[in-house]
């Protein structure tokens, strides 16, 4: 298992998609910085009419932590899931497409440990990507925007029901926690992508299938017609990761939704393993 895990890490490290994802999120941070700077200048700079004087235009609102939080929130729903689905979707289907899966399966390695090793490698990749993204945002925020406390208001970002504030050091810890909760939530997408990877014959189909499912639920969940269905979508449960940014973390709700995501991950993986074990590998 450990040898298998080492090989999977090595393959992942050498893949272009890994480095492409890191480059893409870095470009996104630069774009966010440009947008944040110009917006802050427009809204709070000299000559601007103070409309939101108690909240969004107070002098202490725009700082590096706010920047990192907005950047993370905006990217989490659509940008980062693309890369997670891309890497996870290519795990088995990619091997099948290149013709190496048959060869791997002829070696004395069980199919279960193959899937689990690949999923563990994807899990590590997911955490590394999100930790890198958070770290980069905080670094850029510190260098270009400056430090301060993290102020959160109801409405925008939809995090809290009443205004709240996290002191700088506490907020930094919350970002560290967010790297784990965020990775945990994204593992639902990774597990679904692994399932598609086992089912599909090529990596592109597995990735597109996963993203189609994710985006469909994400969009339908936001349309008011389907409000009654929203609680049943995994995309709704994945939102638990944001709870760590609430001044008072709602632990019961956090554990409830985290458990549902855990059930999705383990259930989907069990299904993927079952299908993979029964599959006749002909290519």
């Amino acid at each position: 298992m450990f040898t298998q895990l080492r090989l999977e890490f090595l393959k992942l490290f050498r893949s272009r998609s890994l480095w492409f994802s890191f480059a893409a999120v870095s470009v996104f941070v630069v774009l966010m910085l440009w947008g944040f700077y110009s917006y802050a200048e427009r809204q709070a700079g000299p000559g601007a009419t103070a409309q939101f004087k108690y909240t969004y235009e107070s002098k202490s609102y725009f700082n590096g932590l706010t920047f990192a939080l907005y950047s993370l929130m905006f990217s989490f729903s659509l940008l980062i899931p693309i890369f997670v689905a891309m890497v996870a979707g290519s795990q088995i289907a990619g091997e099948r497409q290149t013709g190496t899966l048959r060869m791997i399966c002829t070696r004395p390695v069980s199919r279960v440990s193959l899937v689990l090793a690949k999923f563990l490698a994807v899990s590590c990749y997911t955490w590394t990507l999100i930790a890198f993204f958070i770290g980069l945002n905080l670094l850029v925020g510190l260098l270009f925007v400056g430090w301060g406390d993290l102020q959160i208001y109801p409405g925008a970002l939809n995090l809290v029901d009443e205004p709240g504030k996290l002191l700088r050091d506490e907020a930094l810890w919350r970002f560290v926690c967010a790297s784990f909760t965020g990775a945990g939530a994204l593992l639902v997408i990774a597990a679904i992508a692994m399932l598609f990877s086992v089912i599909c014959r090529n990596a592109a189909n597995a990735t597109v299938g996963t993203l189609a499912l994710y985006v469909t639920f994400l969009v339908i969940g936001r349309v008011e017609f389907f409000e009654q269905l929203r609680p049943y979508f995994f995309t709704t449960d994945m939102d638990f990761w944001r709870d760590v940014f609430k001044p008072d973390i709602p632990w019961t709700s956090f554990q409830h939704y985290a458990s549902i995501c855990g059930a999705y991950i383990f259930g989907t993986l069990a299904l993927a393993i079952t299908i993979f074990q029964r599959r006749d590998i002909t290519s």
């Binding site: 109801p154 925008a156 855990g262």
Partner: protein, 281 residues
Amino acid sequence: MWARIILLSLCVLMIASAIHFDPARQRSLLLARPAEGPHLKLMTWNIGYAEMEDDSRAHTKDLQMVAQTILRNDPDAVALQELTGPDQLKALLGYLKGKYGGAVATPGSADRVEAVLVKSQNDRKASFERVAAGERFFVAAEFQSQSKAPQIVFVSAHADAFSSARRRVFTGDVVDWSHTQPNNALVFIAGDFNFELRSTDDSHLYSDNVKNDSEAYSYLLKYFRDLGRDASDTAVNDRRIDYVFGPTEAVFLRKADVLRGTGAEQMDHWPVIVEIALEKE
């Protein structure tokens, strides 16, 4: 085989954990906070009709039913919105059989007004004030619920339904007006504020509408407490847009309820009732 059994066991464990950590349970524990001291019951209700009706203001034929609801729940003060004018207030007070006194706000250019009702007491009389805020008006009542209890100022307000910018200006003016009240008075602001703020709905991340409502609500919460926050939605389409704001200190929330299903079929709001205990002097 073993791997599948372990994964399925973990899946079952997670489902059991999700059932055990039911977020609804935590909520009900936080809802009531009993306390001793004089009690005060406040109600707010937009008695207008839904937008799709020909006339979305309150209808005189419903006033008897509105009065019955008020009498059944016996609040100390009531904030009503979307009355057509003083005639409807007069009719309503008639149905209330002299148990309440009240006043309507100045109509201004609007076709509907807010009203405030205060339970009549033999020895204590309520006084009413009509105030301008933004482009609209609101009405406030000053009264004492019981002898030796602190002076209560109760506002009935209705913020613009269509412009978040106007809602922000109106709310700011109401809050600023509350600062002009005597220090020993307990100010409560009730009414339909039309704020679109939901922490569970992540469909809007950053827009001026959200910012306007967030600014207005945050400004209110700088000085007041949202007493009905743990109650359910107050209007159709799962919206919580009717509020009762009270002082952050000196009052304890005992109960916050939304009387769902109350009112005429065409009404799109339900009454919100908040019961509080006042701190003993």
